[in-house]
């Protein structure tokens, strides 16, 4: 076990890489705005993954060189992107047919809070002075088969984001399947939150201390650690 002074856990790139490893070959994937976008950079060799952006493109490629930016070719985060060979454009009702109709395999989203039961809050703090803005978040969690959350384990002020019960307004109830943080990868199951993998130098005890929700160990994880 490393001391608490040493750097612990994964970098953001490593988190994205971990998530990318869990996306199967041939998957149709929607990446949320921000940290989830990084996942696209780490598709493992030999896999082909097709990215959907809900503003109307299936087969989104990486960002273009600045001189090739086109204000009419953007992603859901309104950033310039490219379109791969074999891509296609469509309108919003068709785009959300892909989402709501359960055609997209995996969605990777950011989170403000995730609960023990997989409830997700990622659109509003519910503060009275906040401008509520939901975008496609509720459609994504209601429609996509597998929901991954990628997020720092705690807020900048050290508050837990993996909580017993979300205090922020929900995006969806019991929707999250797996959580990738800098400290660990967690599976959301009917029996609660299980630790799938601990980040470098992170112990189960340390992780639990930084998590409001109750964590469980898979039998094999427990034995590997002992």
């Amino acid at each position: 076990m490393v001391s608490k002074d040493e750097k612990m856990g994964w970098s953001v790139s490593e988190m994205a890489q971990k998530a990318a490893l869990d996306i199967p070959d041939g998957a149709y994937v929607n990446l949320g705005i921000g940290m989830p976008e990084l996942v696209a950079a780490f598709v493992p060799e030999g896999r082909e993954v097709i990215y959907h952006t809900e503003n109307g493109l299936l087969g989104m490629g990486p960002g273009p060189d600045p001189e090739d930016e086109n204000p009419e070719l953007i992603n859901a985060g309104k950033k310039p992107v490219t379109a791969i060979p074999g891509s296609c454009f469509f309108h919003h009702a068709d785009s959300f047919t892909m989402i709501r109709g359960r055609h997209i395999d995996v969605c990777v989203l950011g989170a403000m809070q995730v609960s023990e039961e997989g409830d997700l809050a990622n659109w509003s703090t519910g503060a009275p002075n906040a401008i509520p803005a939901v975008g496609g978040a509720m459609d994504l969690v209601a429609g996509i088969k597998t929901i991954f959350v990628i997020s720092r384990h705690n807020t900048k002020t050290g508050d837990p984001k993996i909580v017993k019960k979300c205090t922020y307004p929900l995006t969806g109830k019991a929707v999250v399947d797996r959580i990738y943080t800098d400290l660990a990868i967690l599976d959301v199951t009917k029996d609660g939150l299980f630790v799938r993998e601990l980040g470098p130098g992170v112990t189960f005890e340390y992780l639990q201390e930084h998590t409001e929700a109750t964590l469980r160990r898979y039998p094999e994880t427990a034995s590997r650690e002992s």
Binding site: D25, G26, Y28, G46, E48, I50, H52, L57, L58, G59, A83, P85, G86, S87, C88, F89, F90, A93, D94, F96, T97, M98, I99, R100, G101, R102, H103, I104, G143
Partner: protein, 237 residues
């Protein structure tokens, strides 16, 4: 790598088993995936529920599938056509069940099934026998019936061009039910006149995005149904 191209119609339809619900594209012969249907006759699953606008002509294609006693129930809008003899006979003998759905409601139910909309309201069929027993509700003075989304285990669709991602274009009025049926099935199986390279179909003109397609078979020269009917051909040949 994503490659949805399947070498033969036989392999493409092999997994369709007894009791499956199968959407079959086409309006009359336009867009009817006749080679896929014939492969389904060869493979022989029974007690299928078939969702298709018509019931086929003569003794080939969908009519032959029905004649071969593989269809337990038809969901369609117009189970009669000029040369439709098979369905009427079985229907009169009580050998096949029919759910008659207005054409636009059928299209919207399929579209809803594909879009994750479990049910919707429509004014079509209100005050007619086809609304009997259906829930009604008034919106701004307009009486509507509640209709449910339709999904299928399989869709069989004919298109014009396809690539290995399953992106499709169609030919003229053969488009009809194809694009919506592709969205509404767990497994969509498509026959295409030609497989083209990725990128050959301009992203602006793709009609069915590949995400809605699971299997593609190239059938370069699909049979002309009306010719076969005129020649009084029967399948199996």
């Amino acid at each position: 790598m994503i490659n949805k191209i399947i070498p033969s119609a036989a392999e493409a339809v092999a997994e369709i088993g007894d009791g499956a619900t199968v959407m079959i594209g086409g309006f009359g012969e336009a867009g009817s995936p006749i080679e896929l249907i014939h492969a389904l006759i060869d493979s022989g699953p029974k007690n299928l529920t078939v969702i298709s606008n018509n019931t086929g002509s003569g003794h080939i294609g969908l009519a032959a599938l029905i004649e071969n006693r593989q269809v337990g129930k038809m969901i369609c809008s117009f189970p009669r056509t000029a040369n439709s003899k098979v369905f009427p006979e079985l229907y009169h003998n009580g050998e096949i069940e029919l759910e008659l759905v207005p054409q636009g409601t059928l299209a919207e139910r399929i579209r809803a099934g594909g879009a994750g909309i479990p049910a919707f309201y429509t004014p079509t069929s209100v005050n007619t026998p086809l609304a009997e027993g259906k829930e009604t509700r008034v919106f701004d003075g307009l009486t509507c019936v509640l209709e449910y989304g339709l999904k299928a285990d399989f869709s069989l669709v004919k298109c014009h061009r396809a690539d290995r991602y399953g992106n499709l274009t169609y030919n003229k009025t053969a488009r009809n039910f194809g694009p919506i049926m592709c969205t509404a099935a767990t497994t969509t199986i498509v026959q295409t006149r030609k497989v083209v390279e990725l990128g050959e179909i301009d992203p602006e003109i793709v009609v069915t995005p590949g995400i809605f397609v699971q299997k593609v078979v190239e059938i370069t020269n699909p049979a002309d149904e009306s010719k076969l009917v005129a020649e009084e051909r029967r399948y199996p040949w």
